[in-house]
């Protein structure tokens, strides 16, 4: 474990985020036929000679940035040899694949200096468990309570490695997480998503449930008490970590807090938080009966339960914990309890007749004050109809590109919609409805 200095420069970076992140999001979304820049980022691993789909992971420590200018020391799963990231890489596979995941907790090399990206985490042991999977075998390492675990590898010595293997028997959305001292290690950030596509193809969530692959999203929820993280950072371990003292200050989706949640994937301003959670969809023409809906996958990776909902429209719940539901269920607020996952289809098909120019019913133009976010900016286009834009008053900056709609999509436990007492933020993202065909270039 190397002790790191706090990054004072982060304030500048995050201060610039609001504009930079949003600009990147919006400019990247102009091509209607292209996937959203916030869609699911899959790591399909590599195929071993025996046909298994292999993923090599390492535990690593690093920092995330929060929109209030703070940085938080975290642990995470990273691709072997890769940099720390929060959350861990999203592992993707096809039904029937044999999934093989190797894990090491690499040694820290003092000679590599504090900026080294190759060190591990100061945990006695660590591991991965795969909730919802059956028949997971663990080879190597040492037996732990839940599964085999590895110690931090000695510098210059042989790596302590454990290999987990199972068959991706059932499609759906899953988590992977630490199975060692999980109350601490999951809180510190050792979690990630696992997506298994059904045999029918990667454009299905379950058999018979097709979705538009341009618009597939994974939202992983997590909470952070920065005091505990700082304690682990400063003390170089968890010996005095007291989980009863946990008092969350940050709530994240895919490792980011609002407004960072809506910045695109791999936003350069968020180097260790690669995954966006902006849910971008295209409105469907009412006569279009062939374009499948968008897909949103929820996963509650942290320790708390989160009542999550979008504004603007209901959803269709089709799966839970990696199993299709017997019936499709119209869903609005869905409490995603710790460890649970849900699969929801998202469709915008002339909702409330807000279609094209000239809505069939009179709609009151909202009071602009209610639409202006902090700093005199708005996502409002100036026109109630989808795909229409109007002039806005002076000194108001609209992020609307082509009259698209934006709605909140968030945890309705509103205490989690903040960044260390600054609202709104936290476990909040937006969903963006583009007009049919997308925004014109």
């Amino acid at each position: 474990m190397r002790l790191r200095t706090r990054r004072t420069g982060a304030v500048v970076l995050t201060a610039a985020l609001g504009a930079a992140g949003l600009a990147a999001t919006l400019s990247g979304s102009s091509a209607g036929a292209q996937p959203s820049q916030s869609t699911l980022v899959c790591d399909f691993g590599t195929i071993a000679p025996d046909g298994a789909r292999e993923f090599a992971l390492e535990t690593r420590d690093g920092y995330i940035q929060t929109p209030d200018g703070n940085t938080v020391y975290m642990w995470g799963y990273a691709k072997a040899g890769g940099a720390f990231q929060a959350p861990g890489p999203t592992l993707c596979a096809d039904q029937g694949d044999t999934i093989r995941v190797t894990l090491t907790n690499p040694a820290d090399d003092p000679a590599a200096g504090p900026t080294s990206l190759t060190g591990g985490i100061p945990a006695d042991t660590t591991s991965i468990v795969f909730p919802g999977q059956s028949g997971v075998t663990a080879t190597g390492g040492q037996p732990g309570l839940f599964t085999n675990e590895v110690a931090q590898s000695p510098l210059g010595g042989p790596a302590d490695t454990v290999t987990y293997e199972f068959v991706a028997a059932e499609p759906g959305t899953y988590l992977y997480q630490s199975g060692s001292d999980p109350a601490v290690q999951i809180q510190m950030g050792l979690y990630g998503g696992l997506v298994i596509y059904p045999a029918e193809g990667r454009n299905f969530v379950y058999a018979g449930k097709e979705f538009d692959t341009r618009f597939e999203y994974l939202l992983l929820f997590h909470e952070i008490d920065p005091d505990l993280h700082t304690q682990v950072e400063l003390e170089g371990g968890v010996a005095n970590y007291d989980p009863t003292a946990r008092h969350n200050r940050y709530w994240t989706i895919n490792g980011r807090a609002m407004p960072d949640t809506i910045a695109p994937n791999f936003a350069p301003t968020l180097p260790s938080q690669p995954y966006s959670s902006l849910v971008q969809v295209q409105a469907l023409d009412p006569t279009d009966t062939t374009t499948p809906p968008a897909l949103v996958r929820y996963g509650s990776a942290g320790l708390d339960n989160h009542p999550f909902h979008p504004h603007g429209n209901h959803l269709t719940l089709v799966g839970q914990d990696g199993r299709p539901l017997p019936d499709e269920i119209e869903a609005y607020t869905k409490t995603v309890a710790a460890g649970q996952t849900y699969d929801l289809l998202v469709e915008w098909r002339d909702v409330e007749a807000w279609q094209g120019s000239g809505a069939p019913e009179a709609i009151n133009v909202p009071v602009l004050d209610n639409l202006v976010f902090k700093g005199g900016v708005t996502w409002y286009s100036g026109d109630e109809d989808l795909g229409q834009q109007q002039l806005l008053p002076n000194n108001v900056t609209s992020f609307s590109q082509c009259g698209e709609y934006y709605f909140p999509w968030h945890s309705h436990a509103l205490d989690s919609n903040q960044n260390f007492d600054e609202a709104f933020g936290g476990m909040l993202t937006l969903w963006r409805v583009d007009p049919p065909g997308g925004c014109p270039a």
Binding site: P131, S134, A183, Y241, D242, N305, R323, A338, G339, Q340
Partner: protein, 651 residues
């Protein structure tokens, strides 16, 4: 049977005695039906757990709790006399769907010198209008509860918000009219069940001089429990012992004010009943059976889930609160129970046995309790059903002379028939029920079949068919039969050598610690041609006269006596006490010897080789995952006479 596998079955005579007294007491109260009266006492209590913040140190938690005294209350006087509540008690009050019950609530919160406080009773989903008055301290109240919906229900006193956090909660299980499932629906059928009550403690409340004056706005739980215990302790929550294929019904009761996500790892759980709604596939959208890895229970909710156990012996699968609330540092969460595959699966079902002793009397052990003495002779078959002992088969009644000794038995659970072998050669009884046995003498290696329906006897397998020579060494002293295949699994009193196959010159043999099997060529026709297999070599477990590790003789050899095999376990007794000296080395699995050596078992002990895995053909590495004492037959009676079990059949 099927619940609480592996427990030692003792003390049942006491329970039976009290049950009878209770019936009398209830009648005295003047109720209509003894079966539908339930008596609950509310009392102060004290629980001891391992201090989560200081592991290894006891933490004593004062609490108030309900205790069901229906079957234990004294015949006269205060029904709560001697009652001791258990914190977070998961033992359910069982009701049957459709029945109406009178629940007597005896408020003894003023016991032990306290002033007490009024309480009431609410059974979630079953109570009618709430009782806003309650039962005064020292008083008794009655509640009428109709068991309208099957499944798991929480009951509580909700007259005051302090009551549930103080521990005044419990569990009602409403069984469907046909038992064996949670709801009556096929998808809720189960092999074994466990109730898990999730609850929480703030010691500031529980230790307050006047708990009901404690400001609940300050209530902040720091101790998180299942069934009154934590995982990390000498008071560990017992694991759920199961075998592959078992359907484990877990009844979740969230008695904690917190909402919780109850998760499994490695096994899925199917929600078949949620908060009183039956998820059997016929309900509306949103009430269908759910195959999940985590179940979200808000405070006060219950769920019945079925977990189908997969995996291999030795696997452990956690059920735990995924919210990972813990006050322990470096812990895996306090609310955690393991499903352990194989370990502790153990003895379930009725146990049929015969003694080597001429006559033994088991006092007060029969179905009617005190005064019901059961006397077994060595030509009789007794049956222990987990609750009481009874004589299943009286040899002399069926024409067997009192001088005979049955030393091997298998009971066919489908027909009630018995398959027997005798300790010594027996002149064929002249009783007409033995008319089908044409030979003059029944050999000690013959297997005799008793048809329970016709009450007649015949020779099931003649020893010469197998090749056994009729000597005392070849005496069959433990057996099991599969009538469909005609296979006879047996152990002998000494070593034998027989043709490995009918007519073959190649011999196969085994010793008295081994188990062999006669496999007829034509299924169901045991007296034709066939072959002999050795299916278990207990010398691999040091049940042998020679220590294979040290090449020295054992202090006492092990001779298998009664045997009974399930798909996964082998239950057995030995002919004599099996012990080893302090310097003898035994293989893994047995308890370690101390300076005085070790006495493995008395002859009345029924042992279990759990998770028997035969060696690969041609190798000698049979394994048992664990050995366990399953049943001490001497504990089934009260006068301490040592018995010797020499024939055993389970199921």
């Amino acid at each position: 049977m099927g619940t609480n596998p592996g427990r030692r079955r003792t003390g049942i005579a006491v329970v039976m005695a009290v049950l009878i007294s209770t019936a009398a007491a209830v009648a005295g109260i003047g109720t209509a039906s003894a079966q539908t009266d339930i008596h609950l006492c509310a009392l102060p209590g004290s629980a001891t757990i391992d201090d989560p913040t200081n592991p290894g140190t006891d933490l004593v938690i004062p609490f108030y709790g309900f205790v069901d005294v229906t079957t234990t209350m004294p015949a006269t006087g205060d029904p709560c006399a001697g009652a001791v509540p258990r914190f977070g008690d998961p033992t359910p009050v069982r009701m049957v769907e459709g029945q109406t019950y009178t629940v007597y609530v005896h408020n003894r919160t003023d016991a032990a010198g306290g002033t007490g406080f009024p309480i009431n009773l609410l059974v979630a989903g079953l109570s009618g209008a709430p009782d806003l008055t309650g039962v005064a301290p020292g008083g008794d109240g009655t509640y009428t509860i109709t068991a309208a919906t099957p499944g798991t229900h929480m009951f509580e006193s909700d007259l005051d918000p302090h009551h549930v956090p103080l521990g005044l909660h419990g569990v009602v299980v409403v069984d469907p009219a046909t038992p064996g499932s949670a709801t009556g629906a096929p998808n809720s059928a189960y092999d074994l069940e466990r109730v898990l009550v999730f609850h929480e403690v703030d010691m500031a409340l529980n230790t307050a001089p006047d708990p009901l004056a404690f400001p609940m706005t300050d209530w902040s739980p720091t101790i998180h429990l299942i069934n009154g215990q934590t995982r990390t302790s000498a008071y560990e929550i017992p694991p759920i012992a199961a075998v592959p294929g078992d359907r484990v019904l877990v009844r979740y009761v969230n008695a904690a004010p917190s909402n919780s996500s109850i998760a499994t790892l490695g096994l899925r759980q199917t929600v078949v009943n949620f908060d009183g709604e039956i998820y059997d596939g016929s309900g509306p959208v949103g009430e269908q059976p759910l195959d999940v890895s985590a179940v979200f229970l808000t405070s006060g909710q219950t769920a019945d889930v079925v977990i189908e156990v997969q995996g291999a012996y030795g696997d452990r699968f956690p059920i735990y609160n995924r919210n990972l609330r813990t006050s322990a540092i470096g812990d895996n969460g306090e609310q955690l129970v393991m499903i352990e595959v194989g370990v502790g699966g153990g003895l379930t079902g009725d146990v049929y046995f015969s003694l080597a002793d001429n006559v033994r009397t088991f006092r007060d052990a029969g179905p009617t309790g005190p005064g019901d003495h059961v006397t077994l002779s060595d030509e009789d078959i007794g049956v222990w059903n987990g609750t009481y002992l009874d004589k299943y088969f009286d040899g002399t009644v069926h024409g067997i002379p009192g001088s005979a000794d049955i030393d091997a038995v298998w009971h066919d659970p489908a027909t009630g028939d018995l398959y027997l072998s005798f300790r010594a050669d027996l002149a064929t009884p002249t009783d007409p029920r033995w008319a089908a046995v044409t030979k003059a003498t029944i050999d000690e290696s013959d297997v005799v079949h008793w048809n329970a329906t016709a009450d007649t006897f015949d020779i099931y397998v003649d020893h010469t068919t197998i090749g056994l020579n009729g000597s005392n060494a070849h005496d069959i002293n433990g057996l099991q039969v599969d009538p469909a295949s005609g296979e006879v699994t047996f152990t002998t009193n000494g070593s034998y050598l027989v043709p490995w196959k009918t007519g073959s010159a190649t011999l196969i043999g085994a010793r008295n610690e081994d188990i062999s099997r006669w496999v007829p060529d034509n299924p169901g026709q045991p007296n034709g041609t066939g072959r002999v297999d050795v299916v278990a070599d207990f010398s691999d477990f040091d049940m042998v006269s020679f220590n294979t590790n040290t090449n020295t003789p054992r202090t006492t050899p092990g001779n298998l006596d009664g045997i009974s095999l399930t798909a996964l376990d082998i239950f057995f007794t030995t002919t004599s006490t099996h012990s080893w000296g302090p310097t003898e080395t035994y293989l893994a699995g047995w308890p370690a010897a101390d300076a005085n050596g070790f006495v493995l078992t008395d002859r009345d002990d029924i042992l279990g080789c759990r998770g028997f895995t035969p060696a690969a053909p041609g190798t000698l590495n049979d394994t048992c995952l664990a050995f366990a004492f399953e049943l001490d037959v001497d504990t089934l009676h009260h006068n301490g006479v040592v018995a010797n079990v020499d024939a055993l059949s389970v199921g």
